[in-house]
Every structure is written in structure tokens, then in C-alpha cells.
């Protein structure tokens, strides 16, 4: 059978015989909205059950949502309680920590105070030792004062009788020193006179005036003209203009130490008891007494 023929056959399906009285029942069951009250219905039970089924998903969701809200509320309450407990524990922990810190600070302060007391005790002991040392020093000082007093008295006793000049060691040494320096000055003076003679190509030695003008320009200086014992005392030039060919002639002399500088540059320490300066042939020379 072809498709077109099947379709034609289906379209020619025989009509159905309607049961008698159905039309009257349908007419009687007509309930239009404007003529029938809402309480009256052709299928009240079915309609109610339909409404219930219609609202069942919404009711189920509402119940589920309500349950969720209740569970959420319970959990929120538990959470709040737990937070309060945790907060209380934190407060207790903080209090304990503060107490521990306070105890530590007190312990530290006590330890510091104890340390300070130890230091003070050590200082006291050290001061006591110093006091005892000072007392010992004071006693020793008293002894030293006594000795010092004794020494002062001894010194006063010694200074009351001055020693003789020939017995004074320092005075003897000082006199020797001055005499040696005087000899040195006379040698410098004689040397300067000979240098002058060579510089000026002269055959004679210069007088005092020339030496005063010449010495400041030499290495010897003006000090070579005076005796170190008394710097105001100028040496005596006994033989100005003497020739270098007369080496025994006394050229200069110190009136304090009685030392004589000869023409040849040597210096003689003359003992007045045995040697005297005499004039011979117009020039001063040394001669032993008794010759």
C-alpha cells in the first residue's frame, strides 16, 4: 500500500457513534464563570487535588527553604556561642600573659636591685679598704712629717755654718769650669788675632780696637773678649802690634784668673807665686821668680 493511499484511508476513518444522552449531560454540566459561583464546580475534588499538585513544588521549596533557614539559624547560634567561648579564652590567655609579663618585670626589677646591692657592697668594701689604706698612709705621713721636720732641723743646723770656699766641692768645680772657659776664650782671642794677621797679610797682631771690630764678624763672637767669670771684664791686650816671630811674648791676659795668651796661640795658667809677667825688650814675657 502506498503512502498516498494510506493517507487517504486514514482521512476516511469512519465516524464514531456517540452515546445517547451525552449531549444532554454536557449541556447540563455547562458552568460558565459568570453564571456559576466559584464554590460550584463540575469536578471540585479533582480541581482541589490539581491545585494541591500545582502548589506542591512551591510548598516543597518553601519547606526546604524554611528548613535551610532553621538550620542556618541554629548554626549561626552555635557559631556565635563558639565565638564567645573563643573570645573568653583569648581574654583569659591575654590576662595570663599580662600576669606573666608583670611577674617577669618584677623578677627583673628584683634582680636589678640585687645586682645594684651587690655593686654597692663591693663599693663599700673597696671604700673600706681605701679608708684603711688612707689611715695607713696618714700614719706614714705623720712619720714622714716627723722625719721631714728632723731633716729641716738638720738642714737648718747645716746652713747655720757655711762651708769654706776651698771645702765647697761645687764652688771648686765651678771655679775650675770658669778658669777652663777663660783659657778657651784666650785661645780663641789669640787664634782670631792670627787669622786677622793672615787676612790682612800683616806681620803683627792687632790691638784691642781692631779686635772689637773684627771679632763680631768671626765665628768666635764678642764673648771671646771677656772673661766668663765676669763678662764686664775685658781681657788685657798687653802686646798690641807684636810680631808672630816672638812666640814667647804675652799677647793677652785675664786679670781675674791670671791666665796669659802667648803670641804662638798657646795659653799659660800662671801661678803668681812662682811665675810673673815682666817686660823685656818692650814686650811682656813670662819669667819664673828667682831666675
Amino acid at each position: 500500500m502506498k503512502s498516498d493511499h494510506i493517507e487517504k484511508t486514514l482521512r476516511k476513518a469512519p465516524p464514531v457513534r456517540t452515546p445517547a444522552g451525552l449531549l444532554d449531560e454536557l449541556h447540563a454540566a455547562i458552568r460558565l464563570p459568570h453564571t456559576v459561583s466559584s464554590a460550584t464546580s463540575c469536578e471540585p475534588r479533582t480541581r482541589n487535588s490539581f491545585n494541591l499538585r500545582r502548589w506542591l513544588p512551591a510548598l516543597g521549596f518553601a519547606l526546604w527553604f524554611l528548613g535551610c533557614v532553621v538550620v542556618f539559624g541554629i548554626q549561626t547560634g552555635e557559631f556565635v556561642k563558639l565565638r564567645e567561648r573563643q573570645h573568653a579564652r583569648e581574654l583569659a590567655h591575654a590576662t595570663a600573659v599580662q600576669r606573666a609579663l608583670a611577674a617577669d618585670s618584677v623578677r627583673a626589677a628584683t634582680a636589678a636591685e640585687l645586682e645594684q646591692l651587690k655593686k654597692d657592697l663591693a663599693d663599700v668594701q673597696r671604700l673600706r679598704a681605701e679608708i684603711s689604706q688612707l689611715r695607713a698612709d696618714a700614719q706614714e705621713l705623720a712619720v714622714l712629717r716627723g722625719q721631714n721636720q728632723q731633716l729641716r732641723e738638720d738642714l737648718k743646723t747645716q746652713t747655720a755654718v757655711p762651708p769654706k770656699p776651698e771645702e765647697d766641692f761645687f764652688a771648686v768645680v765651678q771655679g775650675r769650669k770658669m778658669k777652663i772657659r777663660c783659657v778657651n776664650h784666650l785661645k780663641q782671642l789669640g787664634l782670631a788675632a792670627r787669622i786677622w794677621a793672615k787676612d790682612t797679610k800683616s806681620d803683627v797682631l792687632p790691638d784691642l780696637t781692631i779686635l772689637k771690630a773684627y771679632l763680631p764678624n768671626t765665628q768666635f763672637g764678642e764673648k771671646a773678649l771677656t772673661c766668663p767669670e765676669d763678662e764686664t771684664m775685658v781681657y788685657e791686650i798687653l802686646s798690641p802690634g807684636v810680631s808672630e816671630g816672638l812666640p814667647d811674648t804675652v799677647y793677652s791676659r785675664c786679670p781675674i784668673h791670671n791666665t796669659c795668651g802667648l803670641t804662638d796661640g798657646s795659653v799659660q795658667m800662671v801661678d803668681p807665686k812662682s811665675v810673673q809677667v815682666v817686660k823685656r825688650d818692650g814686650w811682656w814675657v813670662l819669667r819664673r821668680i828667682g831666675e
Partner: protein, 183 residues
């Protein structure tokens, strides 16, 4: 006719019982035939017809004329049938003498006896189709709804209706080509 039906609907919505009675008289045979062919029982067909018209009167205020009244009526009838089948779990096909008992008195549309027997075989095979294909065949061929009206009544696309009809016709053709048809 459409304008006449529209005026009847408008009058019925206004609360006129006469217009509602005319609508019942106009459509009750087609609706009963639809349920009678599907349910296989006069009592079930009559009950389903009464339920359908009850829903029509309850929902008449919500009918705004976007589709024809015939289509809207078949849409309600389809839902009533689906609810009924779901409650009863009715899946059994009709017997081969079903058309003999339900057919109205009067001249047969088939000229020869062989043609009538072939038509009865075809109608019996239709009842063995799947529910979707069978409802499409009933609405489009037996109830003479167009493809668009059938799609609106079933709440599916027109292409779906065409697809189901094509599958149903192919299946009917193949079944009828078999030497023995299982009924």
C-alpha cells in the same frame, strides 16, 4: 464558520448559556470520537469528554483567540487524555474488531469489502504505533487538524509533527507490506 464560532465563544465568555450549548453541540462529537478512538471505551470517552468541557468552561476566560477554538479545544482534550492515560497507565492497543463496534451507523466510506478490510487493518496497525506517532495520526487524520493546529495542540513544533507523521506512514507501510500482521 470561524466568525460564528468566535462570536459563540465571546458570548459564552459573557455568560450566555445558549452560546455555550451551541459550542457543545458543535464540537462534542469530534471530541468524543477523539477520546473514543484513543480510549477504546464509550464510558471512558464520555467521561473524558465531560472533563474536557468542564476544563473548557473553567478556562474559557483565559482563551484570547490566539489560536482557533477548535485547536484550543483539542489542546485541552490532549492534556485530559494524557492525564487519564497516566492515571490508568493505559498502553494496551485496541482489538481488530474495535472499529466494527465503534463505527457509526450509516454507509461505509469504502466501496469494496477488500478495501474495508484493508482499512481496518490499517486502523489496527495505527493503534500499535508509539504514543507520539499515534496521537499525531489521530489529530491530523482522524480529527482533520492541519499540521500547524496539530503542533499547537500537542505543544510541539510543526517540523516535529511532520517528522512523526513521516515516521508513522513509513511504519504503517512497512507493517502492511508484511504477509501477516500482528495485531
Amino acid at each position: 464558520m470561524s466568525e460564528h464560532i468566535q462570536s459563540l465563544v465571546a458570548r459564552a465568555k459573557a455568560g450566555e448559556l445558549g452560546a455555550a450549548s451551541e459550542l457543545v453541540t458543535e464540537f462534542y462529537e469530534r471530541i468524543f470520537a477523539y477520546f473514543r478512538r484513543l480510549s477504546g471505551s464509550d464510558e471512558d470517552g464520555a467521561d473524558l469528554t465531560q472533563k474536557t468541557f468542564c476544563k473548557v468552561w473553567n478556562s474559557l476566560a483565559s482563551f484570547h483567540g490566539r489560536s482557533s477554538f477548535n485547536t484550543w479545544l483539542h489542546t485541552i482534550a490532549h492534556h485530559v487524555y494524557v492525564d487519564w492515560r497516566r492515571q490508568r497507565n493505559r498502553l494496551d492497543p485496541q482489538s481488530d474488531d474495535w472499529w466494527e463496534t465503534c463505527a457509526a451507523d450509516g454507509p461505509s466510506p469504502f466501496e469494496s469489502t477488500a478495501e474495508r478490510e484493508m482499512a481496518h487493518q490499517l486502523y489496527a496497525v495505527v493503534e500499535q504505533l508509539e504514543a507520539d506517532q499515534r496521537e499525531v495520526v489521530h489529530l491530523h487524520y482522524y480529527q482533520s487538524l492541519s499540521l500547524q493546529e496539530t503542533a499547537d495542540a500537542l505543544g510541539v513544533a510543526t517540523s516535529t509533527v511532520k517528522y512523526r507523521l513521516r515516521g508513522a506512514l513509513d511504519l504503517l507501510q512497512s507493517r502492511l507490506a508484511e504477509p501477516k500482521i500482528r495485531i
